[in-house]
Structure formats: structure tokens, C-alpha cells
Point group: C2
Chain length 213, copies 2
């Protein structure tokens, strides 16, 4: 599996391929051509072939792609064959929504610990995981071999917690706070800025309405 310098544009499309291939697999589809897949997914067949070829040849001329094989390989590329251990920081609604979302677990994303500043929440259980006080964060991370810190807390808190996470050596964060976290370049941050998403929708609503006039 030779991979280097794959653009983020390609990476962003992989989970969507993975999703569609999973569905096709469940429907019992054995093989698919880039042409057929392109019709289902509404992208060009050319793009599909280019994307897959970034990672080596998964198909066979004259046949197409084997759905199950392709599904598995894309899963591997995405690292879904490995387990990831997460800590969730912020046990509010959003944090609980994520903790309760079973499918992440199925993909190897296991929540090891949940933390919150709110004393009222400490000791409470979310999906069988006890909420811990923030003071225990560093020790817990070191002891449990944590990969990913999930930040479901307000932005000021997120900046502080991100610094703490960096100090105890965390290598990846999934950030739901509406700030850009300032971290060393070897620390990965994947942002989910919900308000940005909503604003984009708002822009497009406006655009559509004014263009009709």
C-alpha cells in the first residue's frame, strides 16, 4: 500500500466511498464498475478511478472492483482496522450525544474516559463510563494510552484544555469548540465548527432567494 502526498481533497472523499461500499456490500452486491458507482454517488467515474489509484490498483480491467475487497481496503486506509482510545472532555449534551453514538465503537473508536468541570456531573455515568473530574485528566491519559482527545466544551475552556493535552503528549484532537486551536504542528486537529456549517447554509439560502428576484 504505497501512499504519499495524498491531497486532503481525496481523503475527504474516502469516508463517503466507504459508506456507499458498505451499503452495496450489505445489499449483496459483489462487483461494481467505476461507471456504476459514479451514477450512484453522483461523481465522475474518472474521479473515482483517480482517487482509488492514489493507493494502488484495487480493480481489474474488464471486471471492475470487488465491493467487499474495496470496502475492506478503504477501511484499512482510513485506519478503521485499528483501535483508537478517546477521552471525551465535556459531558454536556454534545459530549453525551457522541458517547451514545454506538457506531463509532463499531469502527474502533473506544471512549476510555469522560471528564467534566461540573462537580454535579462527576461520578454520574454516561454509557457505563463514569464522569471524572478534570484534575485526573493528565494521569488518566498517560495510564490509558489515549490517542484522541474530544473537546465538547466552550471555546475558552477548549484553548486551556488543548494546551494541557499537548503537554501530556496527545497526538490528535477532535475539536467541537468554535476556536482554532493553536498546537504544535505534529499534533493533529480535526475541527467540527457547527456554526460555520450553519452560516454556509444561511448564505446559500440567501443567495438562492435573491437570485430568484
Amino acid at each position: 500500500m504505497e501512499e504519499k502526498g495524498i491531497s486532503q481533497a481525496v481523503i475527504s472523499r474516502l469516508p463517503r466511498y466507504f459508506r456507499y461500499l458498505g451499503e452495496l456490500k450489505d445489499e449483496g452486491v459483489e462487483r461494481i464498475s467505476s461507471q456504476e458507482l459514479s451514477e450512484i454517488m453522483k461523481v465522475t467515474a474518472s474521479q473515482i478511478r483517480q482517487d482509488f489509484n492514489n493507493f494502488g490498483g484495487f480493480g481489474q480491467q474488464g471486471y471492475g472492483y470487488n465491493v467487499e475487497y474495496l470496502y475492506t481496503e478503504i477501511g484499512k486506509i482510513l485506519g478503521l482496522d485499528k483501535k483508537h482510545h478517546l477521552v471525551l472532555i465535556g459531558a454536556g449534551n454534545l459530549g453525551q450525544a457522541i458517547a451514545n453514538y454506538m457506531n463509532f465503537e463499531r469502527r474502533g473508536f473506544l471512549i476510555s474516559g469522560i471528564f467534566d468541570v461540573n462537580a454535579a456531573l462527576i461520578g454520574k455515568k454516561v454509557r457505563d463510563i463514569e464522569v471524572r473530574p478534570m484534575e485526573e485528566l493528565e494521569d488518566f491519559i498517560r495510564e490509558h494510552d489515549i490517542d484522541i482527545g474530544v473537546l465538547t466544551i466552550p471555546k475558552n475552556a477548549a484553548v486551556d484544555v488543548a494546551n494541557r493535552l499537548v503537554k501530556c503528549g496527545i497526538k490528535a484532537m477532535w475539536n467541537f469548540a468554535h476556536v482554532d486551536l493553536n498546537v504544535p504542528e505534529d499534533v493533529l486537529v480535526e475541527n467540527v465548527h457547527l456554526s460555520d456549517s450553519l452560516m454556509k447554509l444561511s448564505y446559500n439560502i440567501n443567495r438562492y432567494e435573491t437570485s430568484k428576484e
Copy 2:
């Protein structure tokens, strides 16, 4: 404000500009040059000027940009000067997280109604808004001039609800379900696929680790 054929790449950057300009404004900064802003935001000054010029000239040669004015104008472009009325479908953790997130309200996104299939939730209040049964959805939307449907429900339900929303004339959806909704082309869908985001992070963790070896 002459706008046409603005690429989604540009639109995607607007909320981030808006966020930074809001912070600068709060800090009392009056003017800023594309050069200064580029250093803070870690993008090129050239891109900033190009982006703003898609919407006409907001700056002044030799001076730069007036922070407050630019902030207001970008807000208008994003449609944040107008009110939007939303219905939330799915009163689970994720739905509640969104309902409780005050800042959306500040930006003109007002939740008018909350719906759920779960009989146990009906009548319960989330942020002073009563949860209603799904049967009332269509009437409610027609009576309350709803802009946006927010789907915080599992994927099978989302497909059905999206069809119902289309039928009663909704023009925009904010979709948190892990499906691509199939809607007429004049209906806007903004997707938040959390699992896609997490998979991207997973890919990059893997990449980083294997590249070290």
C-alpha cells in the same frame, strides 16, 4: 453588493473571517490590513483580498479594512442580519445540544419547534420549547413559516422525514444523519457527517505514524 458565481471554497472561508473579525472588534481593533490579518489567520494576504473582492471593495488603499464595517458586511453576506426559523427533528442528545446552544439564536437562528417520535419525550420541554409528536410536523411548518429543518435522527428516519419536509415546501435542511439525502435541486442540504470527520482524523493519525517508521 454584486455577487454571482462565488465558489463554495470562498463561502466556506467566510464564517472563519467573520469569527476572527468579531474577536478583533471585541478587542477594540479598528483597522486591519490584509497582511496583518493573514498573519493572525495563517492564510495568504492575497487570498484575503481576493476573497473580499468577490463581494466588492470593502477596503481602502493605504489604510486597510475597517474591522467593524467588514464584520458587518460579511455578516450580511452570510445572511446573519435576517432571522431564520428552524424546526428540530429529533430531541435526543444531539438535538438538545443544538437547542441549548445559545449562540445560534444570537445569529438569528431561532428554533420554533421540536419534534420526536418517542412518545416519552412528547410534552417535555427543551429550552422552553415543548417537544411535539411527528404527526404535527407538516401543519406546524406551514403555520410557522419555517426556513430550515434540522435532522438529528438516525439515517432511515432521516430519509423519510426529508421527503416529508420536501413535500411541505421546506427549502433547506441541516442534516446530521449519516446519509446523503435525495432532494430536488432547489432544496439545499448542508451535511454534518460526524463519522466522516472522525475517519479523516483517523486517516491522518495513521499516516503520521506510518511515515515516522
